[in-house]
Symmetry: C2
Subunit: 206 residues, 2 copies
DNA sequence: ACAGAAAGCTAATACCATTAGCTAATGCTG
DNA sequence: CAGCATTAGCTAATGGTATTAGCTTTCTGT
């Protein structure tokens, strides 16, 4: 193994460790319960040493946002790839998305509810966001050409509608039934009904 | 005017003033940007003096939660009263709710997104929550007996579905288009479409 | 007019993020 | 392998936060 940069590797390990700890803390204490001091404590380090790895607390949120978004996109893309293109793929992707967000509550809140004031998503984050829209839009196009949905479904509006539905379900689940699994409780079981709803709004040309 | 309790009146005024300032700060700095010190600063007082009125920062959140919920319920009830009972009343109530929540963003976040960890809604808050469900449920019953919706609409599920839709729209609007008014942007205009959706899920008996 | 309550104050404690500046270890380079 | 620059840690300090304790002043109901 060429040493390449042994130092850089150890550094990267520490950075990853910090991010993992940060997620753990946010899961326990809430997203804005994250504190640099607590990260340092769990890492067995003094708080100012964290600044060797991140320039500020906000920078940690930033990196978590970016990584979360990337992972979320991957999960959805993978799920869509395993199903038939069109409506099936879309529904599979959305359900995978919902499950992942529910299982990664802290990151989900960071991604979609912006609990941290004066934290604006970066430029690269916006690019991923657009990609997310694109793959959903593509599935909708497939569904329209396959005659599963009406022509109106090939629109940004339809994408927004779809994400609105899923975010609505998750908002309710997070606020009222934390710690419940997907498919249990009063809200996440509504998901299949919501998906049928999509067909009702954009009925296929029969 | 009998002095009754002149002192109690002034005290109440101060309490109201504190709550108003708190809302103003949350609107500017985000819900968890609220700080006791900043309240004191704006009130021209030293921070510890706040404790003569509220036992803790959390107690302020608590009171804001309760008042917000009460106001929200009132707004919805009033709007429903001005429309024809049944589906019209429900839609009118929901739209009024959406408008009010959008216009009172900080309180809305407090009510539905729980940005403050370890803050559990009080018992009385739960009662108001139930009343909210009840009046919507009653409107749904009216709509079913009037033949505007199918029998399945007379269910808690339908109420949850309806609130899911509205919270989804608001989540998106808050996260992506803060400062936009109701009816503008990409999300709140979806509202009428969502309402027609309700009829699609619970179709009337023809 | 007076006693007691209310409403303010200051001082102190224990957190937090962040900056400055120092030291020791690490590992690349000659 | 020796040297040296970078790195990763440290401590100390600043200024912010919530909260508690205890004192003083001001008000007001009797």
């Amino acid at each position: 193994m060429p040493p390449a940069d042994r130092r850089a590797r150890r550094r990267q390990e520490t950075i990853d460790e910090i991010l993992d700890i940060a997620v753990a803390i946010m899961s326990e204490e809430g997203v804005n319960g994250l504190s640099l001091s607590e990260v340092a404590r769990r890492l067995g380090i003094q708080p100012p040493s964290i600044y060797k790895y991140f320039p500020s607390l906000m920078a940690i949120y930033d990196e978590l946002f970016l990584r979360g978004q990337t992972m979320h996109l991957e999960v959805m893309r993978d799920a869509m790839a395993t199903a038939d293109p069109g409506l099936d793929a879309l529904v599979a992707g959305l359900e995978a998305s919902g499950r992942w967000l529910l299982a990664n509550r802290a990151v989900a809140e960071l991604l979609f509810w912006r609990p941290v004031p004066k934290f604006e998503p970066s430029h690269s984050a916006m690019a991923i966001s657009r990609e997310m829209i694109d793959i959903q839009r593509a599935a909708l196009v497939d569904a329209v050409t396959a005659g599963q949905l009406g022509p109106g479904a090939d629109s940004d509006e339809a994408v927004f509608l779809v994400s609105t539905l899923i975010i609505g379900v998750l908002s309710q689940a997070f606020a009222n039934e934390p710690d419940l699994e997907w498919g249990t409780g009063r809200f996440t079981p509504l998901f299949p009904k919501l998906m049928r709803l999509l067909v009702a709004v954009y009925p296929p040309p029969s």
